[in-house]
Structures are given as structure tokens and as C-alpha cells.
């Protein structure tokens, strides 16, 4: 029997980026806010101090900062004809665990989506006349212009390093000319560039493209954010992605918001407290509490006036399904909404090998690169190409960690003397042009509850049914061809093209950019939350995160996840608290 606890004004389920943002905003509004985090406290000096943070084995290959699958995983399959089996080892994506979530081990690649991305359905329909059958893309219900102040807010909280490409409509030299208009420049100048991104930028210019520095949450200089929290200049140590930053140089919840939020009298965090269910009242239209379990296995009922799901996308969607909130999606009938429009990212690369250039791949940072955006979104004419969407192309030198990154030329065996010679010859002289592509939503790609497999509490695991469709393969091949041209223009000794072929595979790491399943929109029959991320069914419940994306554009998601969090927080503060109830 769960022990019932005294109520709070607002309850956050999960304490990563969106939890920190909502915690800060809602406590500013005077609410008494409690966050329940299933993991433990994590902070720079105790958990990834600079004396031991640069440990490739521990943090990446032994998954120190990632989700423990023994506690909870999900099952995966490519289509409904297969039997889903559990993801027993981490691979394709790396959900975070503990305070700060995946935001602790992210790269810091911080984008705004294109204005046209937010109207993907109507825009593509208008420009190209029709969409592929079974493609279920839709408009977001929120516009770029509406989100602009919230993107700006996040960029200044983080101290993003970058070069503006479009200031209030005026195109800026050296920036991304395709980005939507921004009210002001990035708070910090771009990072210093190492050799490979520089070589890429030269090649891109030679082909007539407009390369620009990747917007980066790694600090190009010391920075104090609007909350008064200080970050230090990045040292380009090459341990960002999959690692915590020991140097306070990567914007995370810990380095931007928590030092202020944690000290507020109206904020409380309970760690090692895992929410099992959202409880509704007898009408089913109001959430009254959550049930959670502590580390000793004791159950509690925590009442709250307002509940915000701020866990990772996969957990938010699963919690909705386990709590019976919203109609689950049925891919055969095409009805229901929860779990609908799950999407991902499609990536490919072209390895570049030189003999005459020392590239020093170990000098890097998570978002330290030069890119082009000519082939992203609808920045180019798709007529006759047979696909929509796109992605960015470029060189991001995240670091040369050798267990993970030891590219070899075409035809090299994977072990033995020839392998050893190839690594010794190429490690310092190779780099990789990457493509990072969109995944459109499709009728057959979705999330639901698995009929067989259970977590440690005996609850059904989430089941992911996903594969790349014809649209993604055509688009990714197109991007890879462009990347190949760019790689050749870098004038290397040789290249190796790594297309993304066949079905989605859970084994090789690709990206932790899972999206959809609790999508936002203006029609309750095709979305889980309204344009303010408020549940259509339960008006005192908001669902944040990339689960709201109706499809996944060709950029990293965190900038938009955070902008939507500020957008939702603003709606709660300025409208919902004055008149609790449906906002749309």
C-alpha cells in the first residue's frame, strides 16, 4: 500500500535538461516544485572530474553514464511481422541515467530547426503536390517565429558558441545562410577550428557552398550565463560525446541551471525515486498524483496540482501507455495517438585518408566542426528526387578516442598484422565527412507496450517498431553522394564511403535522437499534446521532450527540445496558472 505524501504545486518526472528548465521556470513563478529522479545525484567534481573523466573504456564502452538495461530496456523490431526482442546491450542510442540525463553526455550540437521544418506537411504538400503513401508527417502547431525567443533563451543559458547566419533577416557572412532569422547573435564566438573542419570548409567553398561553424554548447571562451552561472573555456580534450565534461566547459543542466535551482527554497529533488504510474481522478481528465518507488522498494503516492513529464522520450511515452492516458496508436487501423510517429535519425559517413597531412584527430570537442546546410530540410529543390527532407554535411571533430575511432581504408581486414599497419599509418591522417539526416514519420514506425518482456517491477517494456523507409534511404544516399564529392574535393589519398544500407540495426551507435510517440499538434486525433505540450486528455499534465516532434528534421534535437520546454513553461506561467484548464 503506497504511503500518501503531502501535495506539491508542481511535480517533475525525471530530472535532465527539460526537468531543470521547468524547475527553474516554475519555481520562478512561485510554485512549490518537486522533481522525482529515478537515478542518483551526478555532478562534475564527484562523477566526471578532470582527473579521470577522459576514460574511454569506462564511460563509453562500459556505459558509466548511460541507462542500466538490467533495470529497464525496450524491445525492438523492424516491422510488425517480426517478434520484438529486448535491447540487451546498448548500441544504436544511449539514453542517459541519473541527474542531468543524456544531457550530461551529449556533444553540445545545438541547432534551431528551419522555419519550414515546423510546417513540414503543409509546406511539402504545397511545394511538391503530394506526399508518399503512408508517410504520416504533420505540422507542429507552433511556428519558428513563436519559438525564436525560446531558442534565444536556451542559447544564452548555455552560452552557445557560433556565428549567426541570419540576424533579423539580414544574412551574415560566415554563418548558416539557411537558418531562420534570429533576434541577436550567439552569446559566444565560434570555437577555434582544428585542421580537418578547416580542410572541409575550404573544399566546400571550392564547390560553391557556404560552410559555417557548428553551433556549439562547448565554450569558446569563459562565460557567465543570465542566471549568473559560470562556464570555463573548452580545452579541446576530445572527450565530450558519451562523457561528462570535467572542465565546466559543456553546457549541461549541472553547469547552467542546477547551481541556482538547487538552492531555491521552493524546489526539492528526490533522487532514486522512480515513477511507476500517473494516477487520474474518476473522470479520467485530471491527474491527481503519481505512484513512485524508492531505492528500498517502498511505494509512495505523491499528489500534485500540475504534473510535467520531463524524462527521456522513451520513458515519457511508456509512462503515458502504462497510465492509460491517451489512446494507444494502432498501426493497422491507423487510429490512436500515443506511440504514433516515432522517428529517428539517419546518418552516413565518408572516411578521408591523407598521406601528406597530419590531422591530429584527438584535438576535438563535441560540437567542433564546419558544416554545410545546402542539403538540409527544404533548402534545395526535391523535384524528381523521390524523397523529402535532408540533413547537414560536414566534419565534426569530436575527438580521436582510439577504441571507437580507428578508421581503415577499403579492404583492410578487421584484425591481424595488416589491420595493425593500417591503423598505425592512418590514425593521425584520417578524418570523416558525416551526413546527419532527417527521418520522416511513417505509418509503420511506432512505440507501444511489449506483450512479453518486463522490467524489474514486472511492468511491460516499451516496444519499438522501426525501420528506415524508402524516403530515408533515397535521402541518405543523396546526402552521401554530396559528402563523397566534398571528400574528394579535400584532395585526399583515398576515401571510403559508408552508406547507411538495409534495415535499422540496434547494434552500431548512430545517434541518441529518438523522437515522436507523444507528438504535438492542433488535432487531438493525430497528436497527444496540444501546441503547448499539454495533454489533450488530461489538462494538468504536460509532456516535454523530443517525443513532441511529429517527425525528425535533419538536425540534433536538443536546441528544439529546450526551446519547446521554455515555450511550454511560458504558457504555464502566463496562461495556465491564471486559469487552469485546456490551453487549446
Amino acid at each position: 500500500m503506497a504511503e500518501r505524501l503531502p501535495p506539491v504545486d508542481a511535480l517533475l518526472v525525471g530530472f535532465g535538461w527539460t526537468g531543470a528548465i521547468l524547475g527553474q521556470e516554475l519555481t520562478d513563478a512561485g510554485l512549490n516544485v518537486l522533481a522525482l529522479e529515478r537515478g542518483a545525484w551526478r555532478d562534475t567534481p564527484t562523477d566526471f572530474a578532470p582527473t579521470f573523466a577522459q576514460d574511454e573504456l569506462r564511460y563509453y564502452f562500459r556505459h558509466e553514464l548511460f541507462e542500466r538495461l538490467s533495470h529497464e530496456t525496450l524491445t525492438v523490431r523492424n516491422n510488425i511481422g517480426q517478434t520484438a526482442l529486448p535491447m540487451r546491450q546498448l548500441g544504436s542510442f544511449l539514453p542517459g541515467s541519473n541527474v542531468g540525463g543524456a544531457g550530461v553526455h551529449w556533444n553540445g550540437q545545438t541547432w534551431r530547426f528551419l522555419p519550414s521544418d515546423f510546417v513540414a506537411h503543409s509546406h511539402n504538400l504545397q511545394r511538391y503536390g503530394k506526399l508518399q503513401q503512408d508517410m504520416t508527417i504533420q505540422d507542429w502547431g507552433v511556428s519558428y517565429d513563436e519559438l525564436e525567443p525560446h531558442y534565444d533563451r536556451f542559447e544564452y543559458i548555455c552560452g552557445i558558441s557560433g556565428q549567426a547566419g541570419n540576424l533579423r533577416g539580414a544574412i551574415q557572412a560566415g554563418g548558416n545562410p539557411f537558418e531562420g532569422p534570429r533576434a541577436r547573435p550567439y552569446p559566444n564566438p565560434p570555437m577555434a577550428m582544428s585542421y580537418p573542419p578547416t580542410l572541409f570548409a575550404e573544399a566546400a567553398r571550392s564547390l560553391g557552398y557556404k560552410p559555417f561553424p557548428q553551433p556549439s554548447a562547448n565554450m569558446s571562451q569563459a562565460y557567465t550565463n543570465p542566471l549568473g552561472v559560470q562556464l570555463g573555456p573548452c580545452t579541446y580534450c576530445g572527450f565530450c560525446e558519451k562523457f561528462g565534461c570535467g572542465n565546466y566547459s559543456k553546457a549541461t543542466a549541472q553547469t547552467t541551471i542546477l547551481p541556482v535551482l538547487m538552492r531555491k527554497p521552493n524546489f526539492t529533488l528526490r533522487t532514486e525515486s522512480e515513477v511507476l504510474k500517473i494516477n487520474l481522478d474518476s473522470t479520467g481528465k485530471r491527474a491527481v498524483s503519481v505512484t513512485y518507488v524508492d531505492a528500498a522498494g517502498r511505494e509512495y503516492e505523491q499528489p500534485a496540482d500540475l504534473i510535467v513529464l520531463t524524462a527521456y522520450i522513451l520513458h515519457n511515452v511508456r509512462l503515458l501507455l502504462l497510465s492509460g492516458i491517451g489512446k494507444p496508436y494502432d498501426p493497422v487501423a491507423g487510429t490512436g495517438v500515443v506511440g504514433r510517429n516515432y522517428a529517428y535519425q539517419i546518418t552516413s559517413s565518408v572516411n578521408v585518408f591523407y598521406d601528406d597531412k597530419l590531422l591530429n584527430p584527438f584535438i576535438g570537442a563535441g560540437a567542433h566542426g564546419m558544416l554545410i546546410d545546402e542539403f538540409n530540410g527544404d533548402n534545395f529543390d526535391h523535384s524528381g528526387l523521390g524523397f523529402i527532407g535532408g540533413g547537414f554535411i560536414g566534419i565534426v571533430q569530436t575527438g580521436g578516442r582510439p577504441i571507437e575511432m580507428h578508421a581503415t581504408p577499403e579492404g583492410t581486414p578487421k584484425w591481424g598484422s595488416a589491420f595493425k599497419k593500417a591503423i598505425a599509418r592512418n590514425y593521425l591522417r584520417s578524418t570523416s565527412v558525416v551526413t546527419h539526416g532527417a527521418v520522416m514519420s511513417h505509418r509503420g514506425n511506432y512505440l507501444d507496450l511489449d506483450p512479453t518482456y518486463r522490467d524489474v517491477y514486472g511492468r511491460p517494456l516499451l516496444r519499438m517498431t522501426f525501420d528506415f523507409t524508402d524516403n530515408e534511404h533515397k535521402m541518405s544516399d543523396y546526402l552521401t553522394d554530396k559528402a563523397t564529392d566534398l571528400a574528394k574535393a579535400m584532395k585526399p589519398r583515398e576515401i571510403k564511403v559508408n552508406k547507411r544500407q538495409g534495415s535499422w540495426d540496434v547494434v552500431p551507435y548512430q545517434t541518441t535522437h529518438n523522437t515522436g510517440g507523444a507528438v504535438m499538434g492542433t488535432d487531438p486525433s493525430t497528436s497527444v499534446v496540444n501546441r503547448y505540450l499539454q495533454s489533450w486528455d488530461v489538462s494538468n499534465l504536460f509532456v516535454l521532450g523530443s517525443g513532441a516532434f511529429p517527425q525528425n528534421p535533419g538536425y540534433n534535437p536538443t536546441g528544439t527540445v529546450a526551446a519547446l520546454a521554455y515555450w511550454a513553461a511560458d504558457a504555464i506561467r502566463t496562461r495556465y496558472l491564471k486559469a487552469p484548464g485546456p490551453l487549446a
Binding site: 512549490n32 580534450c237 527554497p265
Partner: protein, 255 residues
């Protein structure tokens, strides 16, 4: 465990004095954090604590025959040659032994509940065996198959060309072993060998930073700021591990 209760007690006191409405008695198994950044002196989890056993060559997990197999296999995966030490000389067998003896060997972070099915290739690892079990079963079964073939009593006693042929067959998933999946085992063995060659020396492999020296990786170097803009120039410093460099140690010290 004694340190665990400290921040709770402190925050409780503050909580009570602040007249807060939140209950405290119910949350003993959780950490209640309020008006505080919970810093606990001495709790930084350095990797060395778990790996101090990695001094020397005493095997912790592998039995003699298993050690002979692993030593022979890693020596073929990254051989000693004119470029310098291979995986065996770099301590990859010791590394693998330490890993199998610990959390990795037990598959503690993996989802290991049934039911079990082979699944599609795209569904990844679906073997019921933990890494420790897989090594144990695969080595026993490969050695038995080698013995049955009649050229040597075990894999470790084969001529290197024969060892290479066996490894290639395992890589291709050709041998049908009684319980272990050949390809799954080879994939793990290859990955663990690379880890033993290139991970930080605190884990018992990459001895004398041989793996890093071979390719030119400077290791756990803190700051490259001065070198970002030096395009095409060789980085001048030798590699550094989490425990520093051998040259930093005092004569006679084993630290």
C-alpha cells in the same frame, strides 16, 4: 554506507528549520536534496579503486587453459611485428581477465531476462550467456573442436597460420559449436582485444601505452588549446594516462 546518510541529515535539519511542508521520514531510501548542492568529500569514484588488482600477471578469472587461449588469440588479433608490441605484449589478456572477473563479465548492466530467441541480426545480442559464461563455453568448445580436428591438442598449441584460419572461421561464424555462438564470441573477443590495446593503462592493458604510442594518441591529455590552430604540426608530448606517465614515477614506486 555511512557517508550516504550525511547529506540527508543536513538537508533534513534545514528543511525542518525552514518549516517546509514536505515529509522527511518517508524518504530515507531516496536522497532528498533541498537548498543544497550535495557535495560529499571523498566520494569521487576514481577508476583506480576497481583496478588495483591489475598489477602483475596473476589471472583472476581465466583458468590456465583459458588463459592460454586468450593469450594466443590476442597475439594474432594484434600481432607483435616490426611496428612494435602487439596486444599480448600490451597486456590485453590480463585486461580481458580483469574485465571478465568484474561487472562486465557478469553482464550486470545488460538486460538478461528471458524468454530467449535468436532473433534478426538487427536485434543485436540475444545470447543468454554473460560475457564470462560465453568466454568459458566458447574456449572449451573451440579447444575441443581443435582437438577433434587432430592438428594440435588446443587452439593455443596450433601453428599461427592455423590459429589465423580458426579465427577467420569464427569471425565468419562457420564453426557450429555445441552451445556458444562462434560469431558472437569472436565479435566480443575482437572488441575486448582492441579495448585491451587502447584503453587507459589503469585497466591492465595498453601496457607502457604501447597501443597509444603505435598510433600517436596522446591519451588523457587535458588541454590542447595551444594546438588547435597548429594545423598539420606534430603534437610534441608523449602520451599520458589517468595515472600519469611512467616517467613521472619515483624510482622503486609501483604507483
Amino acid at each position: 554506507m555511512t557517508t550516504d546518510s550525511a547529506p540527508v541529515r543536513i538537508t533534513r535539519r534545514r528543511l525542518l528549520s525552514a518549516g517546509a511542508v514536505l515529509p522527511v521520514a518517508a524518504t530515507a531510501a531516496s536522497q532528498l536534496i533541498r537548498r543544497d548542492m550535495p557535495w560529499q568529500e571523498g566520494t569521487a569514484a576514481e577508476p583506480t579503486a576497481a583496478t588495483q588488482a591489475s598489477q602483475g600477471n596473476q589471472y583472476a578469472f581465466l583458468a590456465a587453459a583459458e588463459a592460454a587461449f586468450v593469450e594466443a588469440a590476442v597475439a594474432r588479433i594484434i600481432p607483435h611485428d616490426e611496428l612494435g608490441p602487439g596486444a599480448l605484449e600490451a597486456g590485453a589478456a590480463v585486461f580481458i581477465d580483469r574485465q571478465l572477473a568484474g561487472e562486465f563479465g557478469r553482464g550486470e548492466r545488460w538486460y538478461m531476462q528471458g524468454p530467449w530467441a535468436k532473433g534478426e541480426k538487427t536485434q543485436g545480442y540475444q545470447t543468454r550467456m554473460t560475457p564470462a559464461n560465453l568466454y568459458r563455453a566458447a574456449i572449451r568448445e573451440i579447444d575441443a573442436a581443435v582437438g577433434h580436428e587432430g592438428k594440435a591438442a588446443s587452439f593455443a598449441k596450433l601453428a599461427v597460420a592455423e590459429q589465423d584460419r580458426w579465427l577467420k572461421d569464427l569471425e565468419d561464424g562457420k564453426p557450429q559449436l555445441p552451445t556458444a555462438d562462434a560469431k558472437t564470441f569472436f565479435t566480443m573477443l575482437l572488441q575486448n582485444t582492441l579495448e585491451g590495446f587502447w584503453s587507459d593503462p589503469v585497466y591492465g592493458g595498453n601496457r607502457d601505452m604501447a597501443g597509444w604510442k603505435l598510433i600517436g594518441f596522446p591519451g588523457a591529455h587535458y588541454d590542447y588549446t595551444a594546438y588547435v590552430g597548429k594545423h598539420g604540426e606534430a603534437f610534441p608530448l608523449p602520451p599520458t594516462g589517468l595515472g600519469g606517465r611512467p616517467a613521472w614515477r619515483k624510482e622503486g614506486s609501483n604507483g
